[in-house]
Symmetry: C2
Subunit: 397 residues, 2 copies
């Protein structure tokens, strides 16, 4: 993988990631195909909506169908019929979300599968091996993201373990693809700076910022991002993990982020919410029943080219499968197009104006709504963890 900066250095930048499997203009939003499928969307549709790189998840794929099996079948690209570049997450985030189901030591993490309760172990070496078996173009180091509310000591311990594991991940990586280490540091600026400096010194082809947008306030998110980016090399791509709301993408780009991923556009789409230039719109809203216009007049996605809001409303009201697909495709196209427009604005020196124009019109959920969503998300996560734990007791051992 090569990275070339085309416009901008500090602050918003435009560039291109070059892979054998194709070029990825940056800033880039990367759709997430957790289990080898971007939920509801086919590979050809991803290409058509402008996605140039997608994600897979090592944790989920090692459980189902198994990394060795994917390798036997020709790798993740062939398995999922996606011939562009693939970035795989190492599984650190998922494993540490398992709560009481996992036990961590300095060598790695033992945990129970959330599927069948079987006992599994991941070390930095195994996380890299799994991603090499999948055939990833960008592999992520195995890390320990501290919880959003971790105090300084706990965050420091997790961050230092993340550093040791980054070194081990890089040492273990022998095959193809570029391996990105991950900065942590919780919500502590000194730790963020120290972590980014450590990661920068590893000299990897690209660097990721992890552990953000996990419950902390927006103000803290951007403060931590700035502390991290200040220490990261200018000539390497910067990947802000798990951030995907439209307003956040532009705020991240403004601070020098090159790559983003998030399940948000497809998860929202399945729930019937779509992005518009004015904010999110709920397709289940009864007021849309007679709206004979697309979600967004100027959008060139499959949903907006052929279907009215009234029809999309009808599909969601009747729980028709096509609705989930069309809303997901629109949301992905919205984010991909937002990055395309940001890139053009950067190249012509108009990014700040573009950012301001978008922000003046787009109504993001306010902090209170966001906090409530986050609470619900954490509650769902806890139930998931608990369910997995029960399965572990019932089906494991």
């Amino acid at each position: 993988m090569e990275f070339e900066l085309i416009a901008g250095r500090c602050g918003a930048r435009a560039g291109v990631l070059r892979f054998e499997r194709g070029d990825v203009p940056t800033p880039a939003f990367m759709p997430v195909g957790t289990l080898g499928s971007v939920k509801g969307v086919a590979p050809q549709e991803l290409r058509e909506l402008g996605a140039r790189i997608i994600l897979g998840n090592a944790y989920h794929l090692m459980l189902r169908p198994g990394a060795e099996l994917v390798a036997e079948l020709g790798g993740l690209h062939r398995f999922s019929a996606w011939d562009g570049p693939i970035l795989t997450d190492s599984g650190g985030f998922q494993v540490f979300s398992l709560g009481r189901l996992r036990s961590v030591d300095d060598d790695g993490v033992s945990f129970r599968s959330h599927i069948d309760g079987s006992l599994l172990r991941v070390t930095p070496e195994r996380a890299v091996e799994v991603q090499e078996l999948l055939g990833s173009d960008i592999l992520m180091a195995f890390d320990e993201p501290p919880p959003a509310d971790a105090g300084h000591d706990a965050a420091e311990q997790a961050t230092e373990r993340t550093h040791r594991w980054a070194e081990r991940s890089l040492s273990a990586h022998r095959g193809a693809g570029a391996l990105f280490p991950i900065c942590q540091g919780g919500i502590h600026p000194d730790l963020r700076r120290r972590s980014a400096a450590f990661v920068a010194a590893l000299g990897a082809a690209g660097n990721a910022i992890g552990g953000l947008s996990v419950g902390e306030s927006k103000q803290l998110t951007w403060q931590m991002l700035e502390a991290s980016i200040a220490e990261l090399p200018v000539d390497r791509p910067r990947y802000l993990m798990g951030v995907g709301a439209p307003e956040d993408l532009l705020d991240g780009v403004a601070r020098g982020v090159d790559m983003f991923d998030c399940v948000l556009p497809t998860r929202l789409g399945r729930n019937g919410a779509v992005f518009t230039p004015d904010g999110k719109l709920n397709l289940r809203n009864a007021s849309l029943a007679r709206q004979n216009r697309p979600i967004e007049e100027r959008c060139d996605c499959l949903a907006c080219r052929g279907f009215s809001l009234a029809y999309l409303h009808h599909l969601f009201r009747c729980e028709e499968l096509l609705g989930y697909r069309l809303a997901s495709i629109h949301n992905l196209r919205f984010l991909v197009r937002l990055m395309e427009r940001a890139r053009r604005a950067i190249a012509t020196g108009r990014f700040n104006a573009f950012h301001a124009e978008f922000g003046a019109r787009y109504r993001p959920p306010d902090e209170a709504v966001r906090a409530e969503q986050r609470t619900r998300w954490h509650a769902a996560r806890a139930r998931w963890s608990e369910k997995a734990e029960q399965q572990g007791v019932q089906e494991g051992e």
Copy 2:
């Protein structure tokens, strides 16, 4: 609509239905889009897999979103972004499936919505009006299909009411499109013959055979079909309603049927079952986990062009939305292609050989399995009816 016979007259025939919206080569399988969407499949995909005409359902669409609303939005073609011909079922079959929720008199049927329990009424005139509002290219007369186990007297009463309603439907039909009356007659050969003769005398542009494949044995299905077709005009298309298993399509074509519809390919697809030249295959079958070949080597559908059985198995195991789509598309393509191949065989005088070759390889479910499936289907239908009835009590009046 015009119909031209190209090869064959009695027995298997090949022809073409000509509409302003395009030609439909026959014999034809018509995918069902009950609520204005063929479940899991987009209009462009239907075109690509060779579908030339699709179905909508007047009963379902009058409940959601409402026929008047569809008309206000430009009609069903525009609403659902399908620019080829559309055939709509009149709703007779659905209304009479509502069990105790409906009461019938000679003027029409009063029933409670299975959605919200509201009290509704359909007459032959209203059924035609609804279909005209939808903008159908082929409208169906409102009919009373007798249950599969109806004795001679009950079947005769329902059949004679169907005849009166066919006359009223034809009188009410003023707008565009062709209206097809429906033959009934239950499982009684004399009634089948009498009904077909009555319907033939109406001189409509095409004729349908209803009330078959609803629980009776295969032997009876074909006996009743033959009794009906013997009385129907040779120069008008014959539409066998609700039949869609591959072996049944060829058996129907052999007896002179030109058009078929059924939810089977998409319903099976969502359940993970796909058609192959050897019979149905369950994609959830664990033996497929390592199969690195498509469902069918020679199939040109989206699923077979890009994805292995192992991947499809994985999608169903993980309940990924893409699986439902790919399996549905394969099944639709299988039936459409089967009709394309039958048509070529008819045109070159090889249909009997083609039919025999297909039958020698394809393993249909035996009568016992079929009977069990039918029992489950009736039980599900009864639960649906019961649930609708409870909603009627709770939410209606």
